[in-house]
């Protein structure tokens, strides 16, 4: 059987590379440079910390943060207090959580979102 391994992405994340954080913050939806592409792949392949997703509240206008349970048939976890009105804002919010999960370090001024 051909299966995908969620642990297979192993590009080493360097917590000192805050330049990549800034690059993402400037342009959450890309295009991105080579190294930021690798960082995003590392984050997206495994969905670090159980995969965060968006739940569409209003088509193409409002989204709520959610998290997949990692098991078929179990409900999607929802975060009704975390509503986004742009995909860039949502990408940044999830990036912030994944950066901390991967590096153990918080992004200091995370509340300053993408322009």
């Amino acid at each position: 059987m051909l299966v995908n391994d969620p642990e297979a992405a192993h590009w080493p994340v360097d917590p000192a590379r805050l330049d990549l954080v800034e690059e993402f913050r400037r342009k959450p939806r890309g295009p991105h440079g080579d190294e930021l592409q690798k960082l995003l792949h590392r984050m997206r392949w495994s969905g670090v910390g159980n995969r965060h997703v968006l739940i569409v509240i209003e088509p193409n206008r409002r989204w709520m943060l959610g998290r997949l349970p990692g098991r078929r048939g179990a409900p999607v976890e929802t975060f009704p207090n975390r509503i986004f009105t742009s995909l860039a804002e949502a990408e940044w919010a999830v990036f912030v959580m994944r950066w901390e999960a991967l590096t153990g370090q918080r992004i200091q001024d995370a509340e300053r979102g993408p322009a």
Binding site: M1, D5, G30, R44, R51, V56, I57, N60, R72, E91
Partner: protein, 751 residues
């Protein structure tokens, strides 16, 4: 936030002609009633940046309140053999079969039974929750069990023998590994006390791969198995593993053997829902929920990969505990489509709680076809029902690790996706895997399909309605014809039309469907292919069940699961499956372009090429500035070229007369080539370095005044509505349509 699933349903049949009846099978666990309204769909995509939801409301007798009830779904496949005197014989009983468990340890699973769960009476061979074989006998209010000492191994064939020695008062179960080395030998046997001469329950069905919850010839079932069963045998004799093994190895057991109760041969009648008993008792059974047939048996040795060449190697059926192909719901509404109605995409809208913060608006789709041979327009638009079914209830973004990386961004789930995550009993799509990890190869329409309806996921159904809305906006008359009918009636379904449009993603084609288009094009038909990744997979349709399709993905192509070795021919037809490219009909041969890449980072405009200035296609580009990029706008990624894209390739059949009008060949790093585009692996194959990752627009004339125009991009359809339909993508499409409806032949191409 609109609740799109508190009431769900399906229409049957999925496709009706004017004058025919359609029934609506509805269910709601939460609502006592809803307001029903029948609608013809113009645009099914609620995106406020596009046309938005648009319907025509004809006004019908069923518009109004409809009472709702909860109709459960009962997934899990099995075979049911109604009771017969031979099954109630007193005395000893034994059974043998080959077993290939695919989810051992995932709960109790029954393999073969004549057992009533409500009275705990009869006999049953099962896997326990800790993956051990167990033979159970229940009689006179008492239950006996023999349990194997070792668990089975996932995806390893074993031979299983079990039974009751009624004279000795003992029972046993044993397993023998077919590959007993390198740690794979789980062979063991276990014997315990059992009843002497028990009385078996009456009126109890024999069930293969599950057990009955109740008496009667058609019981509800439980304990569904994940795995393959091959050559099950039932004998009126005390268990003798060697004799049972010989009986199962024997492909043609002697029917007159008086001890032989049943010997099922699943290699008989593979395309059907019947399982045949070779014994003199003729204990044939009926399959429920369409388990996978044409599965390799324990004796499959690779000498062929086509079940039709050696069906005796395909005596297994792969049962799944989550198979779902017929919801079996009772109809709640019936409607006879008036003779005067236009063909179209139709839907029953169900609304409730309109004043609340969580209003319900759910749709049940169906299609009204233009009757065969009775066109009402010169143009037909094809409802890609094969593709809609292939994607029906796709859980790809929920289950597959690669989805977020592939889609280049956070996964945005609709309310339907959230519902599907919790409600797998709806049955998934051919993009998904069963709970045991095996690929889902069948899809049917006798169940609610969440992503083939207004407000549903936009891919395919929703995107295609952008073309319908474009036609409506232009005041263009059109008929709707459907894949099912193109398969059934072949070229006859297309022939009445001057021009036929296939939509944003006509991906799945049977051989008959491909040949219908080929014949249509050769006979002077004009074909506009306004999509990408079309004419890609080879499928089959069930020979008798309507609206049931099959795909075997094989080992090539852009596939979300890989077919198992030897299991890549269609059980419905015996034909090969896989890519049309691997079956001698690359899409380029039919429509000039063929799938080459995905691009989900964003979509792109096309650049015009020199052939666009060829006077022979001046009609196409009239009013369009060829020095300006084409389609730097659109609802999918901001461009007309994106999502999945196709390219011209002469070596795959793009014809010599083809004019390659435009290309989007700068798809950057997000342009990822499909697997079959790569000979060997090397870096530099993405769109930022590889000009073969691109979308191409092409035109070519065909015989007898026919022609083909292809846009090679799924995103095309969703660029049509930009700026109130006043844009170059819309203009080019309109120019081509106008010319394609003009019977004048295309001049200037040598014969």
């Amino acid at each position: 936030m609109t609740d799109t699933n508190s009431v769900l349903g399906y229409a049957w049949p999925l496709v009706v002609s004017p004058g025919e009846e359609v029934t609506f099978h509805l269910s709601s666990a939460a609502l006592a009633s809803a307001e029903a309204t029948l609608l013809r769909v113009r645009c099914a995509d609620p995106d406020p940046d596009g046309p938005g939801l648009r319907f025509h409301q004809p006004g019908t007798s069923i518009d109004g309140p409809v009472a709702l009830r909860n109709q459960p779904l009962r997934p899990g496949s099995c075979a049911i053999v109604p009771d017969g005197p031979a099954l109630s014989r007193t005395g000893s009983l034994s059974l043998g079969l080959f077993l290939f468990p695919t989810a051992p340890g995932a709960g109790e699973q029954t393999i073969l039974s004549r057992w009533r769960a409500d009275t705990q009476a009869g006999w049953r061979l099962a896997l326990t929750a800790d993956a051990k074989l167990q033979f159970t006998v229940g009689a006179g209010g008492r239950v006996w069990r023999a349990t194997a000492s070792r668990p089975v191994i996932e995806r390893e064939w074993i031979f299983v023998a079990a039974g009751l020695d009624a004279a000795a008062g003992s029972m046993s179960v044993s397993q023998t590994s077919l590959d007993p080395q390198a740690g794979r030998d789980t062979g063991c046997s276990s014997t315990t006390d059992g009843p002497r001469d028990p009385t078996w329950p009456g009126d109890t069905a024999l069930v293969i791969a599950a057990h009955a919850l109740e008496a009667g010839p058609s019981p509800r079932t439980a304990g569904h198995l994940d795995g393959k069963i091959d050559r099950p045998r039932l004998l009126a004799a005390a268990p003798d593993p060697a004799a049972l093994r010989a009986l199962s190895e024997n492909l043609s057991p002697h029917p007159a053997d008086p001890a032989l109760i049943a010997a099922w041969d699943f290699s008989c009648d593979i395309p059907t829902g019947t399982v045949r008993d070779l014994s003199a008792n003729r204990l044939d059974g009926t399959l429920r929920q369409m388990p996978m047939r044409a599965a390799t048996g324990a004796n499959w040795d690779g000498r062929t990969v086509h079940w039709t060449e050696a069906p005796e190697l395909y005596g297994a059926i792969h049962f799944h505990s989550d198979d779902m192909h017929d919801a079996g719901w009772t109809p709640d509404l019936r409607f006879t489509v008036p003779e005067t109605w236009r063909s179209g995409f139709y839907a029953l809208r169900l609304r409730a709680r309109q004043e609340s913060e969580d209003p319900v608006e759910s749709f049940v789709s169906f299609f009204v076809r233009a009757p065969l041979g009775k066109p009402r327009a010169e143009l037909a638009f094809v409802a890609s029902t094969a593709t809609f079914l292939a994607y029906a209830n796709s859980a790809l973004r929920l289950d597959q690790v690669h989805a977020e990386a592939m889609l280049e961004g956070l996964i945005a789930l609709s309310r339907d996706d959230v519902y599907l995550q919790e409600h797998r009993e709806l049955g998934l799509s051919t993009y998904d895997t069963h709970s045991d990890g095996s690929g889902w190869c069948y899809s049917t329409a006798k169940r609610p399909i969440l992503n083939m309806r207004p407000r549903g996921a936009t891919l395919n159904y929703g995107n295609d309605t952008h073309i319908i809305d474009w036609l409506e906006n232009a005041g263009q008359a059109y008929d709707i014809i459907v894949d099912d009918d193109i398969h059934r009636h072949g070229a006859q379904a297309l022939a009445p039309y001057r021009c036929v449009i296939t939509g944003s993603h006509p991906e799945y084609f049977s051989r008959t469907m491909i040949e219908a288009f080929d014949s249509y094009q050769r006979g002077g038909g004009r074909h506009m292919y306004l999509g990408g990744n079309g004419f890609y997979w080879r499928i089959g349709w069930h020979p008798t069940e309507p609206h049931a399709m099959e795909i075997r993905r094989g080992m090539n192509g852009l596939r979300t699961w890989e077919g198992e070795p030897g299991e890549n021919a269609l059980s419905f037809t015996g034909e090969p499956s896989g890519l049309w490219r691997a079956n001698g009909r690359p899409p380029q041969r039919l429509v000039g372009v063929g799938f080459d890449a995905q691009v989900f980072t964003r979509s792109y405009p096309y650049a015009w090429r020199e052939p666009a200035r060829d006077p022979r296609v001046a009609w196409a580009v009239e009013g369009i500035d060829l020095d300006t990029p084409l389609g730097n706008f659109g609802l999918r990624g901001g461009g007309a070229a994106g999502l999945e894209v196709d390219r011209v390739e002469p070596t795959l059949g793009s014809p010599p007369h083809l004019l390659w009008l435009a290309t989007a060949d700068r798809l950057d790093y997000g342009g990822v080539p499909t697997l079959e585009e790569l000979r060997t692996l090397h870096r530099g194959t993405m769109g930022d370095q590889n000009a073969r990752v691109r979308a191409d627009i092409a035109f070519f004339p065909t015989a007898q005044g026919g022609a083909v125009f292809s846009t090679g991009s799924i995103a095309w359809a969703c660029a049509l509505s930009h700026n109130g339909y006043d844009n170059t993508v819309s203009r080019l499409t309109g120019n081509v349509l106008r010319r394609f409806l003009d019977p004048a032949p295309f001049e200037g191409f040598d014969a």
